[in-house]
């Protein structure tokens, strides 16, 4: 079986599990929603990794998405889920444009650390402006209606799950198209030879900015979904450990295509879910070991294991 076909089957299987499993085990519905929503954020990290750039501050866009919902409900009033799904990513994208104009001038460690710095500014503001944000307590997020229909909590978790799954399919397709497009290939070219890119008449900064804004959009979308799934937005959303988590998941899953984000998120959240139940405060230990194993034996991530067959078997 070719690697391509194998990947397709893995995707079909993944979608089937995400769609059917929670029907059997309702308690998994929210966990799977979280996995998928975080995978969306990680897609944004994967976009930047194409250019060889690692952002250690991407949780800020995740935070922007979450607080868009929280602030809107607090200061404007209840609104439809559809509005949040549009507004959160768009506001995150505007943030991404502003911050991006600055950070795309830098590369590698400077790029990573500047992103971290910006995210810490946002985190501090969310923590310290207690009057507006409730500080570390966060803001509760009420269950919104969808297209004017209100759901019971039990029904809503399925509504959110299937909506998230549909969004995952849409954004994964869009990201894959983007990575295969001229803009996507130019993004990869930043990693290998920026000099040549400039000598083809292309502005590397502009190419990176487009990728950055796209990744901010995805961060915002993930933030909206998780805030609604967990019914709360806290400064933790924008904290640096959260940013690290997204990078961690990207490396775990593999960065060669969109599917890696979700494979990584699934393993990460599942390990955390079970390890934290069994080992309380030592679940990071398990995750650390998992990452070490991945880096040593599957340097291209979980999806790299599928693609590895390409070298041996004729396709």
């Amino acid at each position: 079986m070719s690697a391509r076909l194998l990947s397709r089957w893995a995707i079909v299987l993944g979608v089937a599990v995400a769609a059917i499993f929670p029907l059997v085990l309702p308690s998994w519905a929210t966990l799977i929603t979280l996995i998928l929503a975080k995978g969306i954020v990680v897609l944004g990290i994967i976009i930047l990794l194409q250019a060889g750039q690692v952002s250690f501050g991407h949780a800020m866009f995740y935070g922007v998405g979450a607080y868009t919902v929280a602030f809107w409900e607090r200061y404007v009033g209840a609104a439809d889920l559809m509005l949040f799904l549009l507004l959160g990513p768009v506001i995150a994208m505007l943030f991404g444009l502003l911050i991006g104009l600055f950070v795309v001038r830098y590369r590698e460690i400077f790029f990573g650390m500047l992103n971290l710095a910006f995210s810490m500014v946002l985190w501090s503001l969310l923590e310290k402006l207690y009057h507006y944000t409730n500080g570390a307590d966060g803001i509760r997020v009420a269950r919104p209606a969808l297209a004017g229909i209100s759901f019971s909590p039990e029904a809503f978790q399925y509504v959110l799950l299937y909506l998230t799954l549909a969004l995952v399919l849409v954004v994964s397709y869009a990201v894959q198209r983007y990575l295969d497009s001229p803009l996507g290939h130019m993004l990869r070219a930043i990693k290998s030879n920026e000099t040549r890119l400039e000598y083809l008449g292309i502005s590397a900064r502009r190419i990176l900015l487009i990728g950055y804004v796209a990744s901010a959009f995805l961060g915002g979308l993930g933030g909206v979904l998780v805030a609604i799934a967990q019914q709360i937005a806290t400064p933790e959303f924008a904290y640096w450990t959260k940013s690290g988590e997204f990078v961690f998941i990207a490396i775990l899953g593999g960065t060669a295509n969109a599917f890696g984000a979700f494979a990584g998120a699934a393993v990460f959240e599942t390990v955390r879910f079970f390890a934290s139940a069994q080992l309380a405060n030592a679940w990071q230990l398990i995750l650390g070991v998992v990452l070490i194993v991945i880096i040593m034996f599957a340097p291209n991530g979980l999806i790299g294991l599928l693609n590895r067959r390409k070298a041996g078997a004729p396709s």
Partner: protein, 247 residues
């Protein structure tokens, strides 16, 4: 009457104690292949860097068709029609030769789409023809890092040609290419340049190449253009033979 394409006037640049350019005046005329020869470290590559905006001269100007381009960045100068091939090939090593070429073609055509597949752009046919012309079609689907040095050199030149430039600046186009293939490469290259009406400047150490392919030769030594003229004249100049060619 042929136009002057690139015109350098009074270019000066020094790196610490090394004077690479000390009042360089040089014109590139439409339709010609201009060779620049000179000892190693004389500043020939520095000239290409200054002409393409990679380095800013400490004094002097570079103009292109009468427009001052001294302070412009490489990407802007490239868009104006000055393309460059490098002594050490500058490729996107993780991407295939075809992808490399299609990125150049997309840049040239301004196809900055986020949804169309790179390899399905309408420029594909032109790129295939260009790869044929340069003789590297067989490598189209190989990643650039897998290619031998000589073939990478060809891809580097093909990338520049895909930009459909008015002038192509080449830094030792035949270095790294096996001796037996040098003539073949230069035949192909000069034919391609003539067909696409591209003028060229090439820095070269191989005097056979210069004699055979250059219309004019500029001798660069000690930061100055010592003499400019037709190859037959320059290569028989006793002083040039002694100081530059080393015979």
């Amino acid at each position: 009457m042929s136009r002057v394409l690139i015109s350098a006037r009074g270019l000066k640049i020094r790196f610490g104690g090394v004077i690479a350019a000390d009042g360089i005046d040089l014109d590139v005329i439409e339709g010609e292949n201009l060779a620049i020869i000179g000892p190693n470290g004389a500043g020939k590559t520095t000239f290409l860097n200054m002409a393409t905006g990679y380095l800013r001269p400490q004094a002097g100007t570079v103009s292109y068709l009468g427009r001052d381009i001294t302070a412009l960045p490489p990407r802007t100068i490239t868009k104006l029609g000055i393309a460059r091939a490098f002594q050490i090939p500058q490729l996107f090593l993780d991407q295939t030769v075809m992808e490399n070429m299609m990125i150049a073609a997309a840049a040239q055509a301004g196809s900055m789409s986020a949804f169309r597949h790179l390899l399905d752009l309408p420029q594909r046919k032109e790129v295939e023809d260009l790869l044929d012309l340069v003789g590297i079609s067989a490598y189209a689907n190989r990643k650039a890092f897998e290619l031998p040095e000589g073939q990478r050199k060809l891809v580097d030149i093909a990338l520049a040609l895909a930009l459909k430039p008015t002038v192509l600046l080449m830094d030792e186009p035949t270095s790294g290419v096996a001796s037996a293939e040098k003539l073949g490469l230069m035949d192909i290259l000069t034919a391609a340049l003539a067909r696409q009406k591209v003028s060229s400047v090439f820095v070269e150490h191989d005097m056979d190449m210069v004699e055979r392919y250059a219309h004019r030769v500029a001798v660069w030594s000690s930061g100055k253009i010592q003499v400019v003229g037709p190859p037959a004249e320059i290569l028989n100049n006793a002083e040039v033979r002694e100081r530059v060619i080393g015979i």
